[in-house]
Symmetry: C2
Subunit: 364 residues, 2 copies
């Protein structure tokens, strides 16, 4: 077995209304909460006392200007505790604010792996979606509008002291978003599971995540207040986040990226559309593991139509054309996706630019 490093939040609070533990466990004199206009409504469920400052302007794709604004607000608030209360975007910004607000490092200084000097204040991540798994990890992505690309920061100092998985906070996520982000969480597990860098330890977390998706995603889509199903999906997302750390994703996420940058599809939806195609493409070189995935999801018969029907059955519109893509865009998508070598090189089966184009055509 290869050696492996795994980063984990040192404390997990899991279950309905677990969010109230934030104040109980990490009671701080000054707390700075990152949120969205929607998730700021949950702040009073965190059990906080002391001075609480809420910065609720985190958009879906936070950019450098957003980070700067959040950082300025944090410098004003001088928090002992930073809380990310939201999905992946919010939690990513929270990581950077917690690590950088009281120091001299800029975003440019810390871009890349292992550049963050340290972190003095506590960091709590309270997930309000089940998909990104950002609460489990040490990576933060910020859009650089100048370069038209994402800046990735990765550091052990970005790991949460406490991650909260409170299913009640996800009740209001609409069915379509629940479905797409749930498939994204599964994609994190599956792409790590069949990865060229797959590791038996991470396989264990991947299996748990895939199994939970098979058992609970349809229920969470059908009834948003199904606490057990919502909790199962939050765990699947968390396990997916663990998979992202040391192993990461592969061709599926590479093919999803252009759908985000060029077609402006939400990350979860883009991954849901691509998922069945890459699962089927990789099947010949990962037969046993693909069979495990199919069994966990209850897929029978020919894999591609079965996996696609699984996603459609959850209410995901799987045709790129229905999302506004035009046929003449597909070449550009293919070139871009094929160029994301850091992910494409993780794929167990080599994928030519023609293979990529073929997948987009099949998904058109």
């Amino acid at each position: 077995m290869k050696n492996i490093t795994i980063h984990l939040p040192k404390r997990l609070e899991i279950g309905a209304h677990a969010a109230t533990k934030v104040g109980e466990v990490f009671g701080a004199a000054r707390t700075f909460v990152l949120a969205t206009p929607h998730t700021q409504g949950f702040v009073d469920q965190l059990g906080l006392s002391g001075q609480v400052t809420v910065f609720a302007d985190i958009p879906g794709e936070p950019d450098t200007a957003c980070l700067e604004a959040a950082m300025a607000a944090a410098r004003e608030a001088r928090p002992d505790l930073v809380v990310g209360l939201g999905g992946g975007s919010v939690m990513d910004v929270a990581k950077l604010v917690a690590a950088l607000w009281d120091g001299d490092q800029t975003l440019a200084d810390v871009a890349g792996p292992n550049k963050v000097a340290g972190r003095a204040c506590a960091l709590v991540q309270v997930a309000t979606t089940a998909g990104t798994g950002s609460e489990a990890g040490i990576r933060a992505l910020i859009t650089d509008p100048g370069a038209g690309a994402k800046i990735a920061v990765e550091s052990p100092h970005l790991i949460a002291d406490l991650a909260v998985l409170d299913p009640v906070l996800t009740y209001s996520v609409p069915p379509a978003v629940t479905a797409a982000t749930g498939i994204d969480a599964m994609a994190h597990c599956v792409e790590a599971f069949t990865n060229v860098n797959a590791h038996p330890v991470i396989d264990g977390f991947a299996r748990m995540g895939i199994d939970l998706v098979g058992r609970f995603l349809a229920r969470a889509v059908k009834d948003g207040t199904d606490t057990e199903a919502r909790e199962g999906m939050m765990l699947a997302s968390f396990y997916g986040g663990i998979c992202l750390g040391p192993v990461n994703t592969a061709a599926g996420h590479a093919l999803a990226y252009p759908l985000g940058t060029l077609l402006h599809l939400p990350h979860g939806l883009a991954n849901a559309i691509i998922f069945p195609h890459v699962l089927a493409f990789n099947q010949p070189v990962a037969e046993a593991k693909t069979a495990e995935v199919a069994a966990a999801l209850g897929l029978t018969g020919d894999l591609l139509p079965a996996a696609r029907a699984f996603c459609e059955g959850l209410g995901v519109e799987m045709r790129l054309s229905a999302h506004g893509a035009t046929e003449d865009q597909l070449d550009r998508f293919a070139t871009d996706a094929h160029g994301i070598r850091r992910l494409m090189n993780n794929n167990p089966r080599d994928m030519s630019v023609e293979d990529v184009l073929g997948i987009y055509r099949a998904a058109f």
Copy 2:
């Protein structure tokens, strides 16, 4: 699902020679290493620089005097980093030294749950056995010779910053100890799995641990330098440690305790002897989960003889009489074990004092 709190080391380093990461990741000016006369031989594998002080006098069952001696040495060394390099006893002492050396709290002050005020210095746990899972947890046990009992300290401040699972450090564990401690690790998983307080999240870790024991324990016993098998068993032990935290053990460990205190059997051996009996006793009320355990271990047919044969096949002498027990001791064992209500009350099937005595007789 019930709410659950899980504590985890925030970083894991897993694999052959992963121990060298200690210095690389947690390089400290002053490091204080807790060890045994045997494990101090591994200190030069930790990649440490700066001032290194080694306290290598931790016995198998550390008592309050041992802790005091270690604490005095630590106060002299004034470490930034405390390293536990050994089995459960060493790691338990390391937890307390790291949390208490620079403060005013005594052991009496912190006995029980959530009494430790904080911890300033870093704590790294480097396991050199696969059994206790102490590196995964927040509990420390110290023998109080005056009271003839163990003092338990439990606090989130006792969790490691880094846990190292380096299979090379377990190469020299003799086959008999490998077998007994490996069964103990499995018992942690199984007793949490079939516990009245069982939780689906912990069940996931229990399943991974039991599966690893089924795949790797016999290989690790047969060839101590089988790196993959040793690594698998270290992981099983770590997962067992996670099971111990929020769920804990049940009747198996309760019945093993008198064999430690009165017959002076090592903890792992005591648990290995008891394991098949409690597994079979609980079968009627935990049929599905017991069947999963049996399948993972490859047990077929009548459960008690099959599980006993599994242990004997690993070279464990399963008869209490062969370990020096006399028949007239069994009543006392039974009274004592039955009285450990904090564990007996976790058992899925009520066990009368006659049931307990019956098990000791069957194991005699």
